[in-house]
Amino acid sequence: MSGEDNMKTPDMPQQAMQPGARREAEDKGAPLITAEKVNKHFGHFHVIKDVSTRFYQGEVAVIIGASGSGKSTFLRMLNRLETHDSGKIVIDGIELNENMKNIDAIRREVGMVFQSFNLFPHMTVMNNITLAPRRLRGVTRAQAEETARGLLAKVGMSDHAHKYPHQLSGGQQQRVAIARSLAMQPKVMLFDEPTSALDPEMIKEVLDVMKDLARSGMTMIVVTHEMGFAREVADRVIFFEKGQILEEAPPAEFFGNPKNERIRSFIGQISQAR
């Protein structure tokens, strides 16, 4: 954020105590992430069509939509795991383009949690978490491990620091993956269907960690099918359909009074399935 925006920075901790409360436009300050008329094609398939939206500091945005609606692709564009064909994405004042220095700088500030965890299997939990801070933040191993122990406590994995990922359950692996991202002290966390690869009994433990994170004031953009999470924690729900944002609204409005027939039937189907 640039200096002139500082006075408008919202009072985050207080905001964070009221998950789901909609923030008024004048309280939001400058957006942390701006996407403007973003387009992407996979071959002839137009996956993302003229998508524009903004994400603000401290906001928890939940992106939902059917498979193939482009929601994951859009999320992955925000740290350039996917490129965009046209339009503009600006994160924390830096534009995402071919410039590799920009990309590396942005990726250090944007944490990402994947559906398939993607922990490094040849490293212990501790080394998974400390690798990036040691390489990029110039901290000593001792400092990095100190921070890591704090993060492991936060995600309830303190007893597992010496283990390898294959010795952990899916839910435990995902909690470690969240700690690994947090170790870089990112300004925003992206979650790409973080609970979709988990057995039902493990979903809750991961969602609980994410809820704590949201309450602590972390800016989060979450692609998920967990409607309960969206209702409880989101400040804004974004509905993707055929590569476009069909609707974005606070959860009470989105679920309570869906404007669109398509959204109504989607919510109906999801709720039945659960």
């Binding site: 590396d104 990726r107 250090r108 993607n118 299997p121 990036a132 390489r135 990029l136």
Partner: protein, 261 residues
């Protein structure tokens, strides 16, 4: 070939047992090279009196293998990366290198480095040993490249994505995340290549390197007893390849964090 590991205490961790068995196997190789002249000297003629020569020859063979093997792995990594490069000219160079090396006999390559290279570029006259190392390293490097390339491709794309999304540079991502996993996958074929290299180092004989095969041939020519001297040579090769396999098995176990033992 789990001899080394099975006699170690079962309550030791897998890492500890495999680290110890790597150490045992390496120490075994050193001891074998250092002390082999003693049992050989007890053998009947013509071996007994030539024991020291056999030991020297075996040492040279191992030197050729270790130096060319290490250089060959480095060349293999470079060629594998070049083959996976986004830049077409870099890929062409790597493909050309692999095509030439795999399509020509190693004996021709050894002779080429020793005889043709200095004729083409005056001043590039390497010693017989160094010529053999260069030819063997480039040869095994081409085969290693395929093994390492397959290893790199076997690492899940999500690993690179996770590393890059943490902000790690492409180099860090390769060194810390992709290569260690790729190397584990590539290890069994790499070991095959190194064992083949140990045996192929006998071709250095043709340019006058005094290695094991050269010694065996000299002694059978001098004594007219081919059975004894060549059998001795074969047994020494067999022991060397066995020790090499032991070392690599231990390394494989060391890197294999995902198997429960």
């Amino acid at each position: 070939m789990n001899a080394a590991i099975s006699i170690l205490p079962a309550h030791w961790s897998r890492e500890r047992r495999s680290a110890v068995s790597i150490a045992i196997a390496v120490a075994g190789l050193v001891l074998f090279l250092w002390l082999m002249a003693i049992p050989l000297s007890w053998m009947p003629e013509p071996i007994g009196s030539a024991a020291q020569l056999f030991a020297e020859g075996a040492k040279t063979t191992v030197q050729l293998t270790v130096v060319a093997g290490v250089a060959g792995i480095a060349l293999g990594v470079l060629a594998a990366l070049a083959k996976l490069s986004k830049l077409p000219p870099v890929r062409w160079i790597a493909n050309f290198y692999i095509w030439v090396i795999r399509g020509t006999p190693l004996l021709v390559q050894v002779l080429f480095v020793f005889l043709a290279l200095p004729a083409m570029i005056p001043g590039l006259q390497l010693s017989d040993f160094n010529s053999a190392v260069v030819a063997l390293a480039f040869n095994v490097g081409a085969y290693n490249a395929e093994a390492i390339r397959a290893g790199i491709l076997a690492v899940h794309k999500g690993q690179t994505e996770a590393a890059r999304s943490l902000g790690l540079t492409p180099f860090m991502t390769f060194r810390d995340v992709v290569f260690p996993q790729a190397f584990r996958v590539a290890l069994p074929p790499l070991v095959n290549n190194i064992v083949a290299l140990l045996k192929d180092s006998s071709l250095a004989y043709t340019i006058g390197v005094v290695e094991l095969t050269n010694i065996g041939n000299r002694i059978q020519a001098a004594t007219f007893q081919p059975i004894h001297s060549l059998t001795t040579v074969a047994v020494i090769y067999l022991l060397l390849t066995t020790i090499l396999t032991q070392i690599s098995n231990a390394i494989e176990r060391q890197l294999d964090v995902e198997r429960h033992r």
